[in-house]
Amino acid sequence: MRGRTIWVALVVGALAVAAMTAGAASSAPTARKANNITVWLQVDAQSGWPDAVAAANQQFKNEHPGWNVTVQYQSWGDHLQKLDATLAANNAPDVIEMGNTEMTKYMAAGAFADLTSKKGSFANSSSWLKGLAASGQFNGKVYGVPYYAGSRVVTYRTDLFKKAGIKKLPSSLAEYTADARKLAAKNKGKNFSPVYIAGTDWYVAMGFVYDYGGRIATQKRGQWVGTLNSKAAMAGLAAYKAFFQAASKASKTTIETRPNPYDVYAHGGAASMIGPSWFSCCVGDSYKASTGQFVMPGHVKGTPMPGFLGGSDLAVPVTSSNKNEAADWIKAFTDTATEKVFQAKGNIPNATNLLGSTINERAAQRSWFVPTAKHWVDVENGNILRNMLSQILTGKLSIKQAASSASDNIASVLNGS
């Protein structure tokens, strides 16, 4: 018994020493920190384009001899909580990737360094994608450098379209609605959706609103006003309701990840779905060969429906002590050659002069983005748009009632202090 106790104590002691030394080695003396920058990128970069990251690191090291780059990968779910903690403790990274919808709140709080004077030094900055560049600007100053973007496209079953007699891809909403009816006639399954759209998928629904010239909210004399109850916006909502009723058998109240559209598609439950272009990854083995994509048409023939421009910006936290070096790293990571790598991986590069003609990029010709308001995130978290769509689709409220109530809510949230 005694021998065993000593043995256990020794093992625990050894482990403790290992833990302490592992800890000590990492919290290196501050002298080293002076020649090191820390970069936070999302895991998408780690799995998608690790070579581009390595190349940017190498380029940075060549330009700054004696300097090192530490890249730490984050997940979307909690990277903001980590950022808050590091800002509070003054050891935030030197460069951070932020989602474009996450930027405004932090810019308004003064979290990022002002990069306006350096704007000219970033590659292609004069032709940055409007929607993406806007997400990195606040009060006329530049705080975020556009990194890459993605738009929404239609992913569809070429075989089902052919069987339904659809010879030409739709170039207007009316044509698409007619095609949806043809598809429904040929596929009489109980839950088959010619176009699978989740009821409260506001990314798709707001596209209709912007297509008809409406907007979610505008600023008038410094105050935000909800504009979903304008004539144009309500026309868009009505068009969405009509399209949904004709084309989607999805639940009217569910969100766009429960279930995932591509899972429904992979069961053969949908002939097409609207979503990011990467949806084509997960259509299931049986339909991989018969899947294609096209640009979602708007109600005016020949024009695309505005697609939600998702994307990321790169910013420099204001607590960084290496702001110039951080900006240089961003320069290396967003130069033309690196943007072309992102493009090759299926993303939209950050400048219009780099745009090619993939479906994704053509869809980005017309895009919309959320109001750049400090409290926009609270509107999203409060599910105001989702509730409005649910009320409209279930018929609980008329379009006018639902839109007016949502507009009032949005205004009060955006104007809250």
Binding site: V8, A19, A22, G23, V43, S75, A89, D263, H267, G284
Partner: protein, 279 residues
């Protein structure tokens, strides 16, 4: 007649035990079987009870996720050190709480139970700021210290309960011959509450092993993270989630916990079997 009744009774209890186990463990079974199903089986409309075409692809994909083995090592170090230190310190404090009357006892009890009532979410940022000041961020030692402060109050409280439930007769018999040294006292008390110590250490082990939010915030380098943070990367990208790999990864990280339990669970049965043999 009596004996066969008892045998049927025993059979009945056993059958119930097995049925209960099956129902409880079903979600775990679902996790493990999903890990073996090909992607088409995972999203199938009619549920597949048994994987029809089991595959090891997801396990391969999971282990290919960067830093798997380093993170396992980190978790093992953190958890074993925390549990070992916590059990020793908590046992001593629990003895004090259970066996003594001293001024400050009530205050200490209130503190012990009070700390556990504090929602942990509120402490993340202040704790991070404090640890950063002493270079305990991005370090295993910082995580160990943090985990100790969460495990200790609970362990003290629970062990006190186990010590108090030792029947008076056993305890007083143990104090025969004027055993005057704390060490001897401990040596006799310890085996009596071995089952309680085991249950508490298993809980401490599992809590630390599965803890996520503090490990996430405190550890930056992927080479220093724990397996729960490693697992979160399967859910972290903006693209689709690889459910098969996530389930495979979860199955893999559950193995050490079960191994730990199987090793220590013999200690719990000891008291029961000692009596059963006589029957």
């Amino acid at each position: 007649m009596r004996r066969s009744r008892r045998r049927y009774g025993q059979l009945g209890w056993n059958a119930l035990g097995l049925a209960v186990s099956a129902v409880m463990v079903f979600p775990v079974y679902w996790m493990v079987s999903t890990a073996f199903k090909p992607d088409s089986g995972i999203i199938a409309e009619t549920p597949q009870w048994i994987p029809l075409h089991p595959t090891l692809d997801h396990f391969r994909a999971a282990m290919a996720q960067p830093y798997f083995w380093e993170d396992v090592k980190n978790s093992v170090i953190i958890v074993l050190v925390t549990v070992a230190i916590a059990m020793v310190l908590a046992f001593l404090a629990a003895v004090a709480l259970a066996k003594y009357r001293f001024s400050g006892l009530k205050v200490f009890i209130v503190l012990v139970i009070g700390i556990q009532m504090l929602p942990q979410a509120g402490l993340i940022i202040p704790l991070y700021v404090v640890l950063a000041r002493y270079h305990q961020v991005n370090a295993l030692s910082g995580v160990i210290i943090t985990y100790l402060t969460f495990v200790l109050p609970f362990a003290v409280w629970t062990l006190r309960g186990f010590i108090l439930s030792i029947p008076k007769e056993l305890e007083e018999a143990a104090l025969v011959d004027g055993n005057s040294r704390v060490g001897a006292f401990t040596r006799i008390l310890l085996p009596l509450i071995a089952p309680g110590l085991v249950a508490t250490s298993v809980f401490a082990f599992i809590t630390c092993w599965n803890e996520y939010i503090f490990a996430r915030v405190l550890l930056n380098d992927q080479s220093k993270q724990t397996v729960t943070v490693w697992l979160s990367y399967f859910l972290g990208s903006s693209k689709h989630t690889d459910w098969g790999a996530l389930m495979a990864g979860s199955t893999l990280i559950a193995i050490p916990v079960v191994v730990f339990f199987l090793i220590v669970q013999r200690k719990i049965s000891f008291g029961l079997t000692a009596g059963a043999v006589k029957a």
